[in-house]
Symmetry: C2
Subunit: 262 residues, 2 copies
């Protein structure tokens, strides 16, 4: 017994390493582990485990309920429901945004759903003179943006009533939008071609959390002069791949029916 997890040795503090391992397994496990679970999964002595949990609990990092379950503590909960959790999402995706930018040269955006609108929360500018507008913080409707369509395809409530006509190509009826969303869902990425602004083309793909829900959307935007059908196909592949990688980093497992792991 007590085969210690093969924690690396590269510069670190062992006690902290152990505590970190504990915290991670508490945060990652599908349901709250008990003292005993942690004891066997970590291989630590009862006394050590007890002490470490005490420390973590005192600082509000874990919470132990009466039934013996160990859960993420108030500090974690507080963070999870704060705006700053978006910032950490940005940080997690930044390398991918950069990579997409390099590969395509176009503007890359990351957005979340706020109410019934999409809000851009990160952007990497394009290399060209034409097309640089900073959209961070701006909110846009869902029905006429690629980002919005991604959320709709992911289960966000469809907008009702008349849809604002931003351009001649904007989808202004719910039924036409619904058709587009169906295609989007099947295809795995969305497109809005001159539907928000004439000559502006955007494609977008979903970033999923471990539960499978769409937590963010990733987009490539540019003028139709550069985003030709051929390049759109190529960029869409890159985009979907990047979004998928981020989703994986977020713990999403495609096709996985039920998380049953130890």
């Amino acid at each position: 017994m007590a085969i210690p997890v093969g924690t690396s040795r590269a510069g670190g503090t062992q006690a902290v390493d152990r505590a970190a391992t504990l915290l991670v397994s508490i945060l990652e496990s599908a349901q709250p582990p008990t003292f005993g679970d942690l004891q066997s999964s970590s291989g630590l002595a009862k006394s050590t485990l007890s002490r470490m949990l005490s420390s973590l609990e005192r600082h509000g990092l874990v919470l132990r309920s009466d039934d013996g379950a160990v859960r993420p503590g108030p500090v974690i909960t507080r963070f999870a429901h704060s705006d700053r959790s978006h910032e950490s999402l940005i940080e997690l995706t930044r390398p991918h945004l950069q990579h997409l930018s390099q590969a395509t040269g176009e503007t890359i955006n990351l957005a979340i759903l706020v109410g019934d609108e999409v809000e851009q929360i990160a952007q990497v500018d394009c290399r060209f003179l034409i097309g640089n507008v900073n959209w961070v913080g701006q909110r846009l409707p869902t029905h006429c943006t690629a980002l919005g369509k991604v959320f709709l395809a992911g289960g966000a409530p469809m907008p009702r009533g008349p849809l604002a006509r931003r351009t001649p190509r904007t989808l202004t009826t719910v039924s036409r939008l619904a058709d587009d969303i169906k295609v989007t869902a099947r295809r795995g990425w969305a497109i809005a071609d001159s539907e928000l602004e004439p000559g502006l083309v955007a494609i977008a793909a979903p970033v999923r959390a471990s539960s499978g829900s769409v937590v963010a959307a990733l987009s490539i935007t540019g003028p139709s002069s550069r985003l030709t059908p051929a390049r759109i196909r190529e960029f869409a592949r890159l985009l979907v791949a990047a979004a998928h990688e981020i989703s994986t980093a977020m713990g999403y497992q495609p096709k996985n029916g039920k998380a049953g792991a130890a």
Copy 2:
């Protein structure tokens, strides 16, 4: 010199205590601290700090970007965007739910907004025979529930189009609903009296995150025979107080200097 902050003495592991303190300050600080910030705020030796951050980083609990900022790591981000973050919210509120239940004897519910519906995520049953229905997991419309109105008053998008008439007293026009929401926002709590089901009365109050946004709603539900106007007023006070306490625990600080006492 570096007389360490009087970190508690009650049974714990000191190294873990220190690391926990670090992690907490990273999670709580408004903007990502740098190595130097942490050094001065913790009073740890550079070498110790470096080692601890290494450990935390290796386990994905923190992330250090090129600019030297230390941010919550992927494990935290992943958790924050997973469904389990709700569970920890429940755990945080449970004592308050219990207390409300004891004080009122009625059914207490905690709900979050999912899409354009409210989903009950926790419940404490009432003491009476009449009125016990487990609503956990059920989703209900916003326009005819006290819980829903709380979210609408908190800035959730108003439902459009015709509102389903669940009872003769359901508000079925957007304008009448908007009036109700205005009152709700001013009053600080919502009421739905026989609007979802005849004879069913519910009141609800908002739980806010540090950003001020409404992350959950707390409700008291019962038959109109028991929830008389007088008791509604009394219960509303309790409800708002409980919701406020939870909000405070979540880091919410009311703008106006009303925060005093408690």
